[in-house]
Symmetry: C2
Subunit: 317 residues, 2 copies
């Protein structure tokens, strides 16, 4: 490569705009797409690039049958290419992204992905390496209880991906060791860890939305909720100063499934007005397919939306 290369770089037009990069990591069927969808709708699809990094498979389904690991294993994926593509997107450059066809198990024609103002990256391993983590402004890890995730995976893969319940359970077992070794350690690097789950000690009526436990690490600046989570509300939403499993200080916010719409809206309005907006937060948050709207999900999404809009430079009050 000659000197002209550097000169061309220096002489080129203004560099591309760097997008806001948000990662949503988590195991299969942890709820990544559900969480992302409401965010994309709130940000606006025209401003938002959403992509999944589970397409960087080095082997197709047939080839994997001969191999001693599952698709979760980093050796089963072009991890350095995933890192490279995340870096390119983070610097505003387009990529030609590989595509894995879940229907046929084949690697097929790649697609052009161009970063819009916001890039939401979801998948099994986006926070696996230091280099990939460094590409993101906000890192989220979805951490439902294993039993709940297994139920979700069985439901999805039997209804939408054509597998039998036995096949899904067998696959979950086959993946367990690699989930523990490669997927779950990403939790430690997340700025926000989200855990949707029923509350064990309560007996909520059927249909009560899941509660959310949000671990907010001080690795990014979260909006101040201490003023709003006043004693009167503490039954449904409360924030606590705790230590994570490594002894590091974190805030945890609990949003109970039975939180009332009024209480939820107050929290949402506080986050929303911290950004300089008046009135109600976007109504699309909290959507759960055909199920009733979930206030814990809405608050979780709004917290992430806060970071995205904040980084985009939306007017503050």
């Amino acid at each position: 490569m000659d000197k002209a290369f550097q000169m061309t770089k220096a002489r080129s037009d203004t560099p591309p705009k760097r997008p806001v990069m948000l990662a949503i990591a988590g195991d299969s069927a942890a709820g990544k797409t559900t969480l992302a969808k409401g965010l994309v709708e709130a940000i606006g699809a025209d401003r938002c690039t959403m992509m999944c990094v589970d397409d960087y498979h080095r082997y197709d389904r047939g080839e994997r049958k001969q191999l001693p690991f599952t698709a979760l294993h980093p050796d089963c994926n072009y991890m350095s290419i995933m890192e490279q593509h995340l870096q390119l997107l983070a610097t505003g450059e387009p990529i030609l992204k590989p595509i894995y066809d879940h229907g046929t198990g084949q690697l097929v024609r790649p697609v052009l992905v161009e970063p819009k103002d916001v890039v939401i990256v979801e998948g099994l391993l986006p926070l696996y390496s230091k280099m990939s983590r460094a590409c993101f402004d906000v890192r989220v890890y979805l951490d439902p209880p294993e039993e709940l995730r297994r139920q979700w995976k069985v439901t999805r893969d039997t209804t939408k991906r054509g597998y039998s319940k036995e096949q899904v359970l067998a696959e979950l077992d086959r993946r367990e060791a690699e989930s523990a070794e490669f997927i779950r350690p990403q939790r430690e690097y997340a700025d926000v860890v989200v855990r949707f789950s029923p509350i064990a000690v309560r007996h909520d009526p059927p249909g009560t939305p899941l509660s959310a436990e949000l671990m907010l690490r001080p690795t990014i600046h979260h909006p101040d909720l201490t003023g709003v989570l006043v004693p009167g509300m503490r039954r449904a939403i409360h924030q606590k100063l705790e230590r994570d499993e490594n002894g590091r200080p974190v805030d945890t916010v609990h949003v109970h499934g039975y939180v009332s719409l009024e209480e939820s809206r107050l929290v949402e309005k506080t986050i929303w007005s911290a950004l300089g907006y008046e009135g109600e937060a976007p109504a699309c948050l909290g959507t759960l397919g055909d199920a009733p709207r979930s206030e814990p999900l809405a608050i979780t999404q709004l917290l992430l939306l806060y970071h995205v809009l904040d980084l985009l430079g939306t007017p503050h009050s």
Copy 2:
């Protein structure tokens, strides 16, 4: 993207080694693969990555039928991704390269390409843009007379790609305007322009290898041949100071098809010893499939090999 990104970059291991980058541009069936093959063999396949940039098609064959341009048109290709991939290779980084299946006309599973010590890139448009040109240390353009190229294309596409002669000729006509607009202008940016052709005024016996006319632009440092191309040899090989079509000074070296093995070897030995090697230049040069060895091709390849080995830092005398 946060500060950690820069820190990670700065803290990472020694940067990857930058390979020597050689481009061989030219129209379809201009002889790019033939020229490249002998080079790869001389350099050693273990040190050499060879790739074709004609796979960056934006549309497959079916989609192109609906479009007003052929595969030669930059709008028909992911040019910015081609540039990005050339930059990555030039900085020693791997790429996940798209693949176009000439048999089916489909875009298929991409492949990992890792740059070895030398990257030889051949194709229709590697010198099309300023950014792509800047990625190369040595830029070659193959410029056979159109009539000869048409013959070569008919022969290749009817014997190896399953087309009829009529189909190939119709395709050549369909591409002519875009060849003139996008392919041939690359000639101007080449450090070395290679034209294999019969010499019109002579009547060589059938089977005489084609002659070569090499235009050596002073954009890179060519080995000094003035001492070796002594008067006694001038019947078969001669060098001339000329002007190119834009009036810029160039050296042209003519190697006649009937050059004797002795004369050819003397030129080869001069170039070879300029690199600090003793004895004969690699015997694999000049190979033309099943046809007799071509001394003009061997000298052309050796001149390019000179640049590659020189840039690799092979010991000079």
